[in-house]
Amino acid sequence: MTNSEPLVITGMGIISSQGSDKESFSINCLREKKPTICSRTVEFFDKKYQQKIYDLSPFEERVIPPRMKRRMSQMSRMVAVCALSCLEDAHIDRENLDENMGIVIGTGLGEHHALKGLLSQVKSNPSFISPTLFHNSVHNAPASYLGMILGIKGPTLTVSQQDHTFENALATACPLITNNGSALVLVGACDVFFDFGVIDKTKKKAAVFSSGSYFFLLESESNARKRNAKSRTHITLLPSRKLSKGETVSHYASEIVSFLELKSQKLSSIDLVFLVGISNAINQGIIVELLSHLFSTPVYVQLYTSLHSNPSQGGEYLALALVLLEKQRFICENLRIFHKDFRNCSIPKRETKKILFISLSEKCLSRAFLMEK
């Protein structure tokens, strides 16, 4: 694998409140109306939005050894089930896995259910802390259990970056293939519902997140070709940086253009901008400025914000972008045509083959990927 060889995604696994498999996920995502711009307060995360996922059967019974399952948290089990369904989707034979396969998992808050239990033991009787609860409390417990189930000995990493948790996991996974000799990397994200009010009585309203896990199999194009795997998309990591209005945005736009030129890509060939993370007016202003610098001709923009928010939601965004590429369907209510001069215009319909995926974090960090069918 050379540093410049393209990377592809060849498998996808989903367990989310939007659906517990690919099909139901795509049906639900494309059916629902999504808010385009949404400023979220703590009140937004009211109980009615909470999504817990309890039932992982029957897949769970099939993929997790019973002795191990007894010790695993719900999060670790969800990760295992989702990752293994991703491998099945990619037609990977578990019995003949490459030992150097990598695992990169993003989690915003990790195993806070275990931490909650440990904190109460610290208070009541610190001499009798549960050793299982203790080792299950580390962020990398789910990745380690998954590594043990699969019996792989490659890099097993866990990353976390607030609302860019999944995006950073994907960015961390790429050099494991290009620089580290892993032929395959399972990259995913997981967070589980947790009511902060349980541990923090000072909080007037508890922040409630949804549960969900998303996994993708990343490999080099040549490896995918070698094993006759169907590539869902090429994926190219674009420059990332913190943005503020004005000069930084124009610099960033030039950086993206130069980077694409190096890869022999042109912005004019992009069919759709998939835009996520536009959570406030500042982000909105910045993204309009960025698009103005990038596109001189009109371009379709699909806006998307998950209703079932959690720090790993970037996985949901990528999964949806893959669904759009595959099914050529869009969430019409939030599909816009962007033109820098704000003129009314139309664009002739064409097949969406290339997506520019831009995720802007609440603090204006931009992560971008180019996806190509």
Binding site: V138, K153, S160, P175, N180, D200
Partner: protein
């Protein structure tokens, strides 16, 4: 691909406030593994605790305060912020305890800490963003939480970011503070010693906890050369592996540890005979030291008896996520001091293994190539190889 050099380093631990004092502490065999005073406990297990940490009121976490001190020193030495555009500098940070100490104090002991948030206290990404904002950098940021190998994995990723020219420089670091949860948690695993630890000793009785922070600035050689930066070392190889064996017990054959070291050697494109010094993970538990020794003997073969090995946890205690980067900074100090510090209290080396331990007073030796190990829960192993930098 660009060469990756170290142009800045900073450290803060129980034995030293900065890099210069760390060098002195290692040369004098100084340690502060003592009874814990940070919180009340009936346990007798000593730890490497830092006295009088200055907490920042805006982001009131001990882990953050430790980070800031080590970060400031690394930036001061590197001067990267003055010479490199902010968007060309990234930050990789690794940690595992985060704001757990404050979490315990507010939520278990109902102490009021201004600015505390239970969400922030659990979010390594928030800690990283606070540090990036402090540095005013605008490049990519990454946060790693892989327990005791967190900082070493952060270094691996930082290495790739510079190698792939995604950034000109990466500030990479880690911090972890003592807290009740890890202190009692490791006791529950029955791996803590009631005495200052004795890594690799035949009569070792377990580990001590510690706390601390370490930061490095990794930079492309071209960039460092152009701006006339001091280069402390070159990072030439990294290797990551998993045991796929058990959540807390290392593979008794040291297979995962061997793989990580072997991959780092392969990455560096050097022979095992070029390794002259190893800064071991060396927790002083029976299982870890045995597995690590087997792996090192397997890697180095007969050359094992020529290679010095130090376990820095005999000075610092086990500083969890930051143990890898602190071990690296200790090892890099040997490039300038030309001194290999001993593993403290190692009186009777386990005779099963060939590794060469420095005498208890240390030894004058100037290594060219050093290997640093960090292993973690879940059998997560990371090895780094640095080479002494010679002006070209």
């Amino acid at each position: 691909m660009p060469q990756v050099v170290v142009t800045g380093l900073g450290t803060y631990s129980s034995i030293a406030d900065d890099y210069e004092s760390l060098k002195k502490a290692l040369q004098s065999g100084h340690h502060k593994i003592k009874p814990v005073t940070l919180f009340e406990t009936n346990s007798v297990h000593p730890a490497g605790e830092i006295n009088k940490v200055e907490i920042c009121s805006r982001f009131p976490y001990r882990t953050h305060a430790l980070s800031l001190k080590a970060l400031e020193e690394a930036l001061e030495r590197s001067k990267c912020l003055e010479h490199i555009a902010p968007h060309r500098i990234g930050l990789c940070f690794g940690s595992c305890t985060l704001g757990m100490l404050e979490m315990e104090e507010t939520l278990v002991y109902e102490k009021k800490i201004s600015g505390f948030s239970s969400y922030d206290a659990l979010e390594v990404g928030e800690f990283t963003e606070q540090l990036a904002a402090h540095c005013k950098i605008k490049g990519p940021i990454f946060s790693f939480s892989t327990a005791c190998s967190s900082s070493s994995n952060a270094i691996c990723h930082a290495f790739f970011l510079v190698k792939n020219s995604i950034c000109d420089a990466i500030i990479v670091g880690s911090a972890d503070s003592l807290c009740r949860l890890t202190y009692h948690g490791f006791q529950s695993l029955k791996v803590m010693s009631e005495l200052p630890c004795q890594p690799f000793d035949l009569n070792r009785t377990g580990m001590n906890l510690g706390e601390g922070a370490g930061f490095l600035v990794l930079e492309s050689w071209e960039n460092a050369q152009k701006r006339g930066a001091k280069m402390y070392a070159e990072l030439i190889g990294v290797g990551m592996s998993a045991d796929a064996y058990h959540m807390t017990t290392p593979d008794p054959n040291g297979e995962g540890a061997y793989l990580a070291m072997k991959k780092a050697l392969d990455f560096a494109e050097i022979s095992h005979e070029e390794i002259e010094y190893i800064s071991a993970h060396g927790t002083a538990t029976q299982q870890n030291d045995r597995a690590e020794s087997i792996a090192i003997d397997r890697l180095l073969k007969n050359h094992s008896k020529n290679v010095f090995l130090t376990a820095t946890k005999s000075y610092l205690g086990h500083t969890l996520g930051s143990s890898g980067i602190l071990a690296a900074i200790c090892a890099l100090s040997s490039f300038s001091t030309k001194f290999i510090p001993p593993t403290l209290r190692l009186r009777k080396p386990d005779p099963l293994f060939q590794i060469k331990h420095p005498p208890l007073e240390g030894v004058s030796f100037s290594p060219e190539v050093v290997l640093i190990n960090a292993f973690a829960f879940g059998g997560n192993n990371t090895s780094l190889i640095f080479r002494k930098y010679h002006d070209k």
